[in-house]
């Protein structure tokens, strides 16, 4: 026991990564039917990320046909050459190979998360230092939550292609935390190329990257200009910074946008090079926009559009997408001082409101919430956290049961499953709004320390 804790303290990352990988492979080996079972679950696989549909696309691609002709496959074209390198997942070796690939993705994502947490960007930015900065979670705990989160585990075994999106989004955030403009933009371009909606993360991640750049600049200024200031272990938020010495905003934004769109154009061009036609554009990117496939998923869109008269379809598609779009910039404005909070909250909005929602995204977002661990104490005084988590537990058990009653037993109907997806989204949204409250409260308390511990009243 002591030896174990000793090893853990010496190499926490190695221990966590190897246990997580071993657990995933062990699950896949001991229950050979499990990956295929999970691949078929609507909660994990949606029309735009299903591993089964990827196989269909691969089959057509390997035979030199247009993979988008069948109308089943809606995933990014560059995944095809990658997966055609793997043996067929119908065989034992192919299944293990695919699990190994996704395990590697999870481990790499966790590594990104580790660096994000290590950078301290969550609590300290160029404009703000949280009064609770010393309460941040340890990076090891955050990656442990990510790696052993049941939703992440299920998603790893179910092998949806959105795991790639999650990885590239985290990679982009990590580079943003390191203030690397081009790689940030390019990683985000890859994520958007795979599943479109990370494009909404461009403003907050750009803000984060700019902020880290400023932070670096200030740190350099303090170190070079004022040697006395470094002895002050807690640089307060009121440190006077010469605004002129900070990097200019406009050239930064232009550089970021140009790199992002150039990356996107390059990826799309490369895809066209592999495929016989431009069909893939409409198949991959119009599917989330126009929602032609209404297979149930844990999101809020499918039921609404099943019930809808066709005349109103375009209008409500517009409304739903406007709603999604309406968060990105306001979050950046309001959380100007805490850019990583804006990024995490936007990830939450996407996980809940995206047209083809899945538990993999929700699980990744829940783990990312731990990056904001320092403000959890403000949440829990709000008292909704435990009921919300209990509701998540209830819905993750009731959801599959109601789906079974509807599809297999025939004794339930679509309303059963839809009701549960509503509760699921509600619980996630309670967590989201709770985090908004906590982040704002933290900011407010930094301004007015005398208000700490007092109750909020509307006046």
């Amino acid at each position: 026991m002591d030896a174990l804790t000793h090893v853990y303290h010496d190499h926490p990352k190695t221990v966590l990564f190897s246990t997580a990988a071993a657990l995933r492979i062990l699950l896949a080996v001991t229950f050979p039917g499990l990956p295929d079972l999970l691949t078929g679950r609507v909660e994990i696989s949606t029309p735009v990320n299903s591993f089964k549909r990827l196989q269909e696309g691969l089959f057509l691609y390997d035979r030199g046909l247009d993979p988008y002709d069948g109308g089943i496959f809606h995933q990014a074209p560059l995944l095809l050459p990658l997966f055609s390198l793997l043996p067929s997942p119908a065989t034992w070796a192919g299944r293990i190979a695919s699990i190994l690939l996704y395990t590697a993705l999870d481990v790499l994502s966790a590594d990104c998360l580790y660096d994000i947490a290590k950078s301290g960007a969550a609590a300290i930015s160029s404009l703000y230092r949280s009064p609770r900065a010393d309460r941040s979670w340890k990076p090891e705990s955050i990656i442990a939550v990510y790696l052993f989160n049941p939703f992440t585990l299920l998603a790893c075994l179910g092998r949806p292609t959105t795991s790639f999106t999650i990885f590239f989004v985290l990679l982009s955030i990590r580079h943003a935390c390191e203030a690397k403009i081009t790689t940030t933009a390019f990683a985000l371009a890859i994520a958007s190329y795979i599943s479109l909606h990370p494009a909404l993360l461009l403003p907050p991640i750009g803000l984060l990257c700019y902020d880290r750049l400023c932070h670096k600049e200030i740190g350099a200024n303090i170190q070079s200009g004022k040697p006395g200031a470094t002895s002050d272990s807690k640089p307060s938020t009121k440190v006077a910074v010469d605004q002129r010495s900070l990097p200019a905003g406009l050239p930064f934004a232009i550089l970021l946008a140009v790199t992002y769109f150039a990356g996107l154009a390059f990826l799309v061009g490369l895809s066209r090079f592999l495929l016989p036609s431009w069909n893939f554009i409409s198949s991959v990117y119009m599917t989330p926009l126009t929602l032609p496939d209404l297979t149930p998923n844990p999101g809020l869109w499918w039921y609404f559009f099943i019930e809808m008269f066709d005349a109103f379809r375009e209008f409500f598609l517009g409304v739903f997408w406007l709603h999604m779009l309406s968060y990105s910039v306001p979050f950046c404005l309001r959380f100007r001082k805490q850019p990583l909070v804006a990024v995490v909250l936007m990830m939450g909005v996407i996980a809940v409101f995206q047209p083809y929602a899945n538990v993999g995204d929700a699980g990744a977002w829940l783990s990312c919430l731990c990056l904001l661990g320092h403000i959890f104490e403000v949440c829990s005084t709000h008292r909704y956290t435990f009921p919300a988590l209990a509701a998540l537990l209830y819905t993750s058990l009731l959801g599959p049961a109601f789906h079974h009653l509807w599809i297999y037993a025939g004794s339930g109907n679509a309303n059963f499953f839809y009701a549960i997806t509503l509760v699921w989204s509600l619980a996630l949204l309670i967590l989201l709004t709770d985090m908004v409250y906590a982040a704002l409260r933290d900011e407010w308390e930094a301004e007015r320390p005398e208000g700490k511990g007092k109750e909020v009243r509307q006046i």
Partner: protein, 621 residues
């Protein structure tokens, strides 16, 4: 805590209200297409002679030496009638036993059918009690010959003779849907050579009477499926209305021939229904069809009366004409119901709150314990309370509640930081350990199963004591952590049982009621000073909870069940193992992987304050 007690009490009294007229409803036919009893039945007259001949034939088949000759004989009879006959051998390997047999069946292609839909008429060679089903098999053969001459069938009819009432239909229906064609260690089922369309309904006959005949009084309608799935209420209503209104044959449920429609009898019928649904095991040849979303019932002749085999034949004929009328699958009526007698039922909206209240009481307690676990100061279990008393006196805070001002100890208001890692790991660990008894009891050979069960029962009682010792002494768990442990465990039980209530209401209700004392378990506090005002109450509570915890344990419940059924415990354990491996019954999973871990965790909390290594705190003060 008071609230959850109310929940449980309301849940129980809710159940007791259900048999009243105000809370139940008269059954009715919901689907217009069925038109029960609207056709004239022509089965009779010379068909009786045909039946007697077949009965003689089946009787002589029953006295052949080998099973093979029986299946060959049935196969030939089906062929002579003009059906497309086929055979299906199957075998299951469970608890060191082999269950094997051969199903014989034939396809009657409906003259107006397009091979997309089919109905099943079946008579198991041996009925559920193991008797040879002579008259039913003969009646099915007669009906098949009779149906063959009709031109009205718009669905195909499959005539099935499973070798056995439980495993034969299971093998046949799973092969019909090609779900387990690859042989595994526990099942080897061959594929069906002849198939028709989607099965719309199945009716099994149970009439184990030899060539001398025996007139019956009533038809017992068996309707429970595997895992508590029920057929659509319309099918049951059709059977009841055809038998009682058209043919004048009374029907009964659960073998209650003399149902007087009094409150007691209705409650008894409800209780029997709930028990058999909770067990989830097959109750007849129809049970295997339910998991495949095929509505099926068994008509069993009971009592001594004046109805003969021809009346049963006419009932079956009329029912097939009704099912034949269906335009779509049974869907209009209820799938979730509890029957009080053949003409009264309780629908899901009326009975589900009972189970939900019981499951909800766990969640309420979990929430209460969660809030409690956030209250300081951190203590370790079994320590004297004096330190905290002193703490309380020191810091008082004024709380404004409207106009009133209260002085509340500061320590009670502050939310302390919760250390959740240890409780979460222990809860997860105990749930993982629960797979051990499940695996052992479903995979052990028959000879060793009783011994394994006894060993598991004893270690079930020792495990909480051991774990609690480790937790408190080695890992230094605090009172708050133990509260969190109980909170997580109760939360999980509540969530699982309310999920299960939507699939198998009765099982969730029974396990919920048996596990409900776990909500009220608090650490036993031995040695509190007798001067304390509620010391007596504490002792009563401690004695009561530990007694209830000791007797409502999963192993003891299984033992009590075998005693109640009047069967050997070995027999019951083997039946449970067979149910798990061959029928796919999940009840045992709920008992071992939901109830058992919660019970163990409850035990850990219960004994956590008892410290054997030191003088009781009352004396060292």
């Amino acid at each position: 805590m008071g609230l959850s007690l109310i929940c449980i009490l309301v849940g129980i009294s809710w159940l007791l209200l259900l048999p009243l007229n105000e809370y139940s409803r008269q059954t009715y036919i919901s689907e217009n297409a069925i038109l029960p009893g609207q056709v004239h039945t022509y089965f009779g007259g010379s068909e009786h002679n045909v039946f007697r001949a077949y009965r003689q034939e089946v009787w002589s088949l029953g006295h052949r030496k080998s099973e093979e000759e029986v299946t060959d004989g049935l196969y030939d009879l089906l062929q002579e009638i003009g059906l497309r006959p086929a055979r299906q051998p199957y075998s299951f390997q469970v608890a060191g036993e082999t269950i094997e047999g051969t199903n014989v069946y034939g396809l009657l292609q409906g003259p107006r059918a397009d091979a997309t839909e089919a109905m099943v008429l079946m008579a198991a060679w041996r009925n559920f009690d193991g008797e040879v089903n002579y008259s039913a098999v003969a009646l099915v053969l007669t009906l098949a010959r009779y149906f063959k001459r009709w031109s009205v069938w718009s669905k195909d009819i499959l005539v099935l003779f499973p070798a056995n009432s439980t495993y034969g239909p299971e093998a046949w229906v799973s092969a019909y849907h090609s779900t387990s064609t690859i042989p595994s260690a526990s099942r080897n089922i061959s594929a069906l050579p002849v198939k028709a369309g989607a099965l719309q309904g199945a009716i099994a006959l149970d009439y184990p009477v030899g060539p001398w005949g025996k007139r019956f009084d009533k038809l017992d309608v068996l309707y429970d499926g595997v895992n508590g799935a029920l057929p659509n209420l319309d099918l049951l209503n059709t059977a009841v209305s055809v038998a009682s209104s058209q043919m004048g044959i009374g029907c009964s449920l659960h073998g209650m021939i003399d149902h007087s429609d009094s409150y007691q009898d209705r409650l008894k019928c409800l209780a029997k229904g709930v028990m058999s649904q909770a067990a989830g095991h097959a109750t007849g040849p129809h049970s295997a069809f339910m998991p495949y979303h095929i509505d099926a019932i068994t008509l069993k002749t009971v009592g001594d009366g004046w109805h003969d085999e021809m009346s049963l034949g006419r009932v079956t004929e009329s029912m097939f004409r009704s099912i034949n009328n269906l335009l779509e699958k049974f869907h209009q009526s209820f799938f979730f119901y509890i029957l009080l007698n053949t003409h009264r039922f309780v629908s899901i909206g009326s009975y589900l709150p009972a189970a939900m209240l019981v499951a909800g009481s766990f969640t309420i307690n979990a929430l209460a314990l969660w809030v409690l676990s956030g209250r300081g100061p951190v203590e370790s279990p079994g320590k004297p309370k004096s330190t905290s008393e002193k703490l309380k006196e020191k810091a008082l805070v004024a709380v404004n509640d409207g106009k009133d001002v209260m002085l509340v100890p500061k320590a009670e208001l502050e939310v302390i930081e919760r250390k959740m890692f240890l409780p979460a790991i222990v809860v997860l660990g105990v749930h993982l350990i629960s797979l051990v008894p499940l695996y052992v009891l479903t995979h052990k050979e028959k000879s060793g199963i009783t011994f394994a069960f006894a060993a598991l029962a004893i270690s079930s009682y020792l495990l909480p004591i051991y774990l609690s010792g480790v937790l408190v002494r080695v890992w230094d768990a605090s009172v708050q952590q133990l509260q969190m442990l109980q909170s997580f465990s109760l939360l999980f039980v509540g969530a699982t049982l309310s999920t299960w209530a939507t699939i198998n209401f009765s099982l969730a209700l029974i396990v919920g009621l048996l596990a409900s004392p776990l909500s009220f378990i608090r650490p036993i506090t031995l040695g509190t000073s007798p001067t304390e005002p509620n010391a007596l109450l504490n002792i009563v509570h401690a004695v009561a909870t530990s007694f209830v915890w000791l007797i409502t344990s999963p192993p003891l419940a299984l033992f009590a069940l075998s005693w109640y059924l009047g069967k050997d415990i070995t027999w019951m354990l083997v039946e449970i193992a067979k149910g798990w491996a061959a029928q796919g019954v999940w009840s045992i999973l709920v008992i071992w992987s939901v109830w058992w871990p919660a019970w163990v965790l409850g035990g850990i909390v219960l004994v956590s304050s008892i410290r054997f290594d030191r003088v009781p705190p009352a004396f060292d003060m």
